[in-house]
């Protein structure tokens, strides 16, 4: 392989170089701005994570797995995974191999960064080496892989169903330009390399193509136009990239280290949130996942459109989208890059100004802490117990049977856990409720707090400061009572299908425990969409603007998913899901606490009980 162009330059590289300089400059300034926007403490944390060996390894692994191999997409749908990883990994390999070619054969040209891209134009075949032909073979091989990916991508625009996607996001104008230029890059590269193959050499793809072309194109006049076209299309793609969804390619490489550094969304417009918004590839996986999109309704309120409107700064739509969402977290669970739709929305809601703020001084302070509570259990049923009192009664009955000394803090009404206020984006007001409630709970001086509502549970676990108190959901507590032999269980004849409540499953990552507890006392089956893909019951307090009439369809769709299979009844572990499902279900809906209560007897005699 020898240098063919003595100056090492040809004007056709100018569009590519201009595009590359533009996109690199844009990304560089973007990184700088985002780092400046991060709160000082987050920035420090990020820099520390960049020099911590453990996070460095994790970053490298995540970037390779997510950005190049698209492992999450492979898990979702193999064809979709192949399509993305073939283009991403194939392109990456073309760039890497191009550099290796330059280093091996023209080391004095390595400073010219367009050389690896247009290598075939600048070289002439001399005494070809084995290494050279292997590299050419690999280049053609990866080009073929990419072309197969592009063909799949074209087919996906006609029929997305075979890729496991019913609905995809409608591409905006910029996205279309980016898409078509991306599609054009690789066929043009094949053409350009094929036309040059008799000069530069090639492999199984380019040499036969060159031979075919030379049968009817006897001269080299078409050589330069194809290289120009290739360079111009690359330029178009790179110029459009920052304004289209393809920004997710560089943004995701920033998102992964930021996330691994443990940074959270604190402002919906700046810093980490900005990186998330730019990382959204507009794939539209969240549209199928969204419980609101039943019957093609509310499609434009899914997270993919939130990120789009945030980029366009369309305030009216941003408010509409952020207020409507149920905050069930499913879009986040299925998102391939990890855009935190619910967290973004809560932050957007928190930007609203309210003229009237609540004042909780009307809630009386509790009497000073008494030490008599030690060893006792405090039960917090949550305000849903007012609508479904059976849950609280069942938990109490189980406590009695097991001989547990307990206090029921909100038997006659109590303070809300603060999560509904938090979800509404009124963070300071939620904080005020939390502080009030903390004082009430600490007043009992107990060591364990049992909670029956997953919404409260998440709030207690994440936002409360209750030193010395173990916060536990009744699922775990009842499991412990059974393990300790304080309760004896008999099996129910009914077969239950378990519905994962959003806040317990996706919210707290508790999927197995309820199944284990329920499995001890009854037969269970699984619904098609379960665990982190379970469908929100539609009753969520996350939504501010959805009326109950509009939620009915969502509840019915969630129930349809649960009816699938041979279950006689539906079991859940959330009083809100219980209340919502009971309204429309054609079969009994039970809280696990109720089932446990019905299927267990106490094993200890009255005298043993404390």
């Amino acid at each position: 392989m020898i240098d063919r162009v003595a100056s090492g330059f040809h004007p056709f590289v100018i569009p590519f170089v201009a595009g590359m300089v533009f996109v690199l400059g844009y990304c560089f300034i973007g990184i700088f701005r985002i780092l400046l926007q991060l709160p000082a403490e987050d920035r420090k944390r990020f820099f520390i994570s960049l020099v911590t060996p453990k996070t460095i390894l994790k970053n490298i692994r995540d970037i390779f797995c997510d950005c190049l191999f698209h492992v999450k997409l492979w898990k979702r749908n193999r064809l979709l995974g192949y399509m993305h990883s073939s283009i991403a990994f194939g392109w990456f390999m073309l760039i890497v191999l191009g550099h290796i070619e330059v280093i091996l054969f023209l080391p004095h040209r390595i400073r010219l960064f367009y050389y690896p891209i247009f290598f075939n134009f600048f070289v002439a075949e001399a005494d070809s080496t084995i290494q050279g032909s292997l590299l050419f073979f690999l280049m053609d091989f990866f080009l073929l892989i990419i072309l197969s990916g592009i063909a799949l991508a074209m087919y996906k625009r006609i029929r997305s169903r075979i890729f496991g996607m019913r609905r995809t996001a409608r591409p905006s104008l910029m996205n279309r330009i980016g898409l078509y230029s991306l599609w054009a890059i690789f066929p043009l590269r094949l053409l350009a390399e094929s036309f040059t193959a008799h000069i530069s050499g090639g492999s199984f793809l380019t040499i036969p193509a060159n031979w075919v072309f030379r049968q009817f194109l006897g001269n080299d006049l078409n050589l330069l136009p194809t290289w120009w076209a290739y360079s111009i299309v690359l330029d178009v793609f790179m110029v459009v990239l920052p304004f289209s969804r393809y920004m997710h390619i560089p943004a995701e490489m920033m998102l992964i280290p930021l996330r691994n550094a443990g940074i959270r969304v604190r402002n919906a417009r700046k810093g980490f949130a900005k990186v998330q918004v730019l990382s959204c590839p507009n794939c539209g996986v969240c549209i199928d996942a969204c419980p609101m999109s039943v019957d093609k309704a509310n499609i434009k309120d899914c997270t993919v459109y939130l990120t789009r409107q945030l980029r366009r700064k369309n305030e009216r739509r941003i408010e509409e989208i952020s207020d409507k969402c149920l905050l069930c977290g499913k879009c986040e669970a299925v998102c391939q890059v990890g855009v935190e739709g619910p967290a973004l929305r809560i932050q957007l809601r928190s930007e609203r100004k309210y003229a009237l703020s609540p004042d909780y001084s009307c809630i009386p302070d509790p009497p000073p802490a008494e030490s008599a509570g030690e060893g006792k259990v405090l039960y917090y049923a949550g305000c849903m117990s007012r609508l479904v009192p059976s849950v609280g009664r069942s938990v109490e009955s189980v406590f009695r049977k097991a001989g547990i000394a307990y206090e029921w803090i909100d038997r006659d009404g109590g303070v809300c856990c603060g999560r509904p206020m938090y979800l509404a984006g009124r963070l300071e007001e939620a904080e005020a409720i939390v502080r009030k409630n903390e004082a009430q709970i600490l007043g009992y001086g107990v060591g364990t707090l049992v909670v029956s509502c997953p919404i409260c549970y998440k709030m207690f676990k994440e936002k409360y400061d209750l030193p010395g108190i173990r916060i536990v959901h009744y699922i775990d507590y009842m499991q412990e009572l059974l393990d300790a032999g304080r309760l004896k269980a008999s099996r129910s004849d009914l077969c239950y299908v378990y519905h994962d409540p959003c806040e317990l499953g996706r919210g707290m990552g508790i999927y197995e425990e309820p199944r284990r507890l329920l499995g001890r006392i009854a037969a269970i089956t699984e619904s098609p969409k379960n665990r982190n893909e379970s469908i929100c019951c539609g009753g969520s307090l996350g939504s501010l603007t959805l009326s109950f009439a509009k939620r009915e369809k969502m509840t019915r769709a969630a129930l349809e998913n649960l009816y699938d299979g041979k279950a006689d009844a539906i079991a859940t572990a959330c009083p809100l899901c219980l209340a919502t499902f009971s309204r429309y279900a054609d079969r009994p809906v039970r809280d696990i606490a109720e089932i446990v209560d019905a299927q267990t007897v106490g094993t200890i005699t009255k005298t043993e009980a404390i």
Binding site: R386, M421, F548
Partner: protein, 105 residues
């Protein structure tokens, strides 16, 4: 005055002609639902804040239509949403309360 063991309470008569209902009208613009309330009181019966601040959305809406100051009631609201779940008219009460908090001056 002699203590008779009972007293006359202040007149609670409302002169609707003189009442300033601009706030209620503004609320209705933001949440047209406010007009379909039939004052059944389900919201008040299930209200978490009720025992503390006397909150009841029924009272708030009535108070607004009578031009009264409902801030003391409203200030206890924790947005827990029980009223939304029980409202027989399907009023999105949480949104209504948020809108009211937004426009209150």
């Amino acid at each position: 005055m002699t203590d008779f063991g009972f007293k006359l309470s202040k007149s609670s008569a409302v002169e609707l002609d003189k009442v300033d209902t601009t706030l209620f009208e503004r609320l209705c613009e933001a949440s047209p639902d406010a007009r379909i309330c039939m004052n059944c009181g389900s919201c008040g019966a299930t209200c978490t804040a009720g025992p503390y601040s006397g909150m009841s959305l029924r009272k708030v809406l009535l108070g607004l239509q009578r031009g009264q100051d409902v801030r003391p009631l409203l200030s206890g609201c924790m947005l827990c949403g029980k009223c939304t779940m029980v409202c027989p008219r399907g009023i999105n009460t949480r949104n209504l309360i948020l809108n009211l908090c937004r426009i209150y001056d």
